[in-house]
């Protein structure tokens, strides 16, 4: 009972309490420590455990509890992203040529699915990214649950790497999976043959690659912000501010002075420029070459990843 209630300090009027009868509440278990002589499971299995914890948490209890707004929004965005696939299917069903011309697979539509500004890169993808990255590292800093990871044989690189991969995979559901479904919708709805597939597959691949670049960039910037902040929402809002704020500034400068230089600071525009080049759609940035955008993109990701690694390697294994 003594142990249960509180420590007994050196008290002057200490009374020896010798309880003869058995304690009625609580047990003390005898503990014998036996060193474990087994073999540690391979690194990939430990990392898979972290990945699984984060991924399954989206739709299953007992794993990382993503908030309900996050899950709901991901579902809504997934359905909304399939709009072009749905319209392609519809055009195939009703045989409407003009509808298919508007929504079917083409260079522009493949580009638009991944990199179109409105509504996908204003309302859908950045907000999904913001909701995901918001608390993924900052909660560990705030609650000290990083100790759960770092007191086990998990390197810091694995820790942040698996979080990165899990956030990227969840985003790829709404970006890349919907892109693939869109491609297949066209094949199914219009009965496309192998010749068509061989023609369009490089375009699809280019769009897929652009999508991966998009996801990678949003994730690295978002995770860098999450590692810097202790709040739950600051990283998400910060990501949205960077993406949309730089876009607004760039539009402002471009409208006022007809100078497109500030687009280099906007992650979205850099990705769009590179995407336009590799997919082969009409470039909308004509004052400078796409290699500048690529360089800027690499620099942005580099800074973000450097920040992320610096913060995580100096993260305390306790509540900060």
């Amino acid at each position: 009972m003594e142990a249960a209630w509180g420590s007994s300090e050196g008290d002057e009027d200490l009374t020896a309490t010798q309880v003869a009868e058995p304690v009625t509440t609580g047990h003390v278990f005898e503990q014998v420590y036996k060193p474990w002589k087994g073999t540690l499971n391979p690194r990939w299995m430990r990392n898979w455990a972290i990945l699984r914890h984060h991924l399954l948490g989206i739709f299953k209890k007992g794993h990382r509890p993503w908030g309900m707004p996050t899950r709901l929004f991901i579902l809504i965005v997934f359905i909304a992203s399939l709009s072009d696939a749905a319209l392609t299917l519809l055009s195939g069903l009703i045989g409407d040529g003009s509808l298919h011309q508007l929504w079917g697979i083409s260079r522009d539509n493949l580009y638009g699915h991944v990199l179109g500004f409105f509504p996908r890169n204003v309302l859908y993808y950045p907000i999904v990214a913001a909701l995901l990255v918001g608390s993924v590292i900052s909660e560990d800093r705030q609650h000290g649950t990083s100790a759960l990871y770092f007191s086990r044989p998990i390197t810091r690189f694995d820790y942040v790497g698996m979080k990165f991969v899990s956030v990227a995979i969840i985003q790829s559901f709404v970006v890349l999976l919907t892109l693939t479904l869109y491609y297949f919708a066209e094949i199914i709805a219009l009965g496309r043959g192998w010749a068509w597939i061989m023609d369009t597959f490089p375009l699809f691949l280019a769009a897929f690659l652009s999508g991966m670049v998009l996801i990678f960039t949003y994730t690295s910037i978002g995770l860098a912000l999450s590692s810097v902040s202790k709040g739950k929402f600051f990283p998400g809002i910060g990501l949205l501010s960077i993406v949309l704020g730089t876009k607004v500034l760039a539009i402002l400068v471009s409208t006022l002075f007809d100078r497109e230089i500030l687009y280099l600071l906007s992650p979205y525009d850099c990705m769009a420029h590179v995407g336009q080049t590799i997919i082969g759609t009409q470039p909308t940035y004509d004052q400078y070459s796409w290699t500048w955008s690529l360089a800027s993109l690499v620099a942005m990701n580099g800074i973000a990843l450097y920040t992320l690694s610096a913060r995580v390697s100096s993260m305390e294994v306790t509540r900060e």
């Binding site: 209630w5 509180g6 009374t15």
Partner: protein
């Protein structure tokens, strides 16, 4: 104009405490969260002196305090501070000092800044607040470190700073929620002295804790909560007395325990004797006072050599144990 007094009526007169009402009154108060009752049917009145509120974690101590401080609304029943309902009415807090349980404080402020800033929320001017801050920080023993940042304080010093901030408006009712939690022994002693002093000054002080020995050292008036219910209220010895069905024990360590037992067993009030070991004698009785009255004569007249006499279950731990393991009042 916005509803400053939050009573829904334009309050133009000064709030006056109801002198006939006790400082703290709870009548039939319950607080439920869905189907879980954090407090059920608590009725008590407190006025003057130090009262200890005891209970295990989750018994409802903090909930009760938050109800008193208008942070929560009772699901049933009445809560009154000086006769006024504190929900949506912060006027009574002019007479109240509250020391919350949460650990987080403004680490970037010095204790003096902290106390004087919040003193101004009682309506003091800047100069008055500084003076009062000096006074209360001196009272709690932080005068020499008052101008260091709270972030550099130890846990005990932080608790004392919190107590100081609660005392700055010279309150008549002081509520301390787990003030000794996490403190080192020296800090505990200092804080306990402060609390006792406040009680002696005639204030109503309510202290919650689950460190039973400290509560015993501060006060004998206790309130025991368990699972949201009020199990006991009053003087702890009186409570123990009431638990008649549970026999008291007296343990005596003597050179010749068996010889002593022969002399003791004749006493009427003794109904059982046992020997925990060779040197110790344990007497079970229903009437502790009577045994203690006769024991010295029995020992001295028969020339026994005694090392210790103890009442092992006349303390709070035993009371709580008995009460919470099923025997209520």
């Amino acid at each position: 104009m916005p509803d400053f007094d939050q009573e829904g009526k334009g309050q133009t007169q000064a709030w006056q405490p109801d002198l006939s009402a006790p400082a703290v009154l709870l009548e039939g108060v319950s607080k439920s969260y869905g189907r879980i009752f954090a407090l059920s049917n608590i009725t008590m009145a407190l006025n003057g002196g130090v009262t200890g509120v005891l209970g295990m974690n989750g018994a409802g101590k903090s909930t009760m305090f938050k109800l008193l401080m208008g942070k929560l609304k009772p699901s049933q029943g009445k809560v009154r501070l000086f006769g006024t309902d504190p929900w949506k009415n912060p006027a009574p807090y002019a007479r109240v000092g509250f020391v919350p349980e949460h650990e987080k404080m403004y680490d970037w402020m010095t204790a003096h800044q902290f106390v004087s800033t919040f003193a101004r929320l009682n309506g003091l001017t800047r100069a008055e607040a500084m003076l009062e801050a000096d006074r209360v920080l001196n009272f709690v023993g932080l005068a020499d470190v008052a101008h260091k940042k709270i972030g550099q304080y130890s846990k005990g010093m932080r608790q004392r700073a919190k107590i100081a901030h609660a005392l700055v408006n010279d309150p008549e009712l002081i509520i301390l929620d787990e003030p000794l939690q996490g403190c080192d022994p020296l800090a505990r002693t200092t804080i306990m002295n402060v609390i006792r002093e406040l009680g002696r000054m005639g204030r109503t002080v309510i202290v919650s804790s689950h460190i039973l020995q400290e509560i015993e050292r501060i006060t004998e008036q206790i309130v025991i909560l368990h699972n949201g219910r009020l199990l006991a209220l009053g003087n702890l010895h009186a409570i123990r007395e009431k638990l008649d069905q549970i026999p008291h024990r007296i343990t005596i360590e003597a050179d010749d325990a068996k010889a002593l037992a022969k002399d003791v067993i004749d006493m009427d009030e003794v109904y059982g004797i046992s020997f925990p070991d060779n040197k110790n004698l344990s007497i079970q009785t229903h009437n502790l006072g009577a045994i203690h009255a006769q024991l010295p004569a029995a020992i001295v007249n028969n020339g026994h050599r005694i090392h210790t006499i103890d009442n092992p279950d006349d303390d709070l731990a035993s009371i709580l144990g008995y009460l919470t393991s099923g025997g209520g009042l």
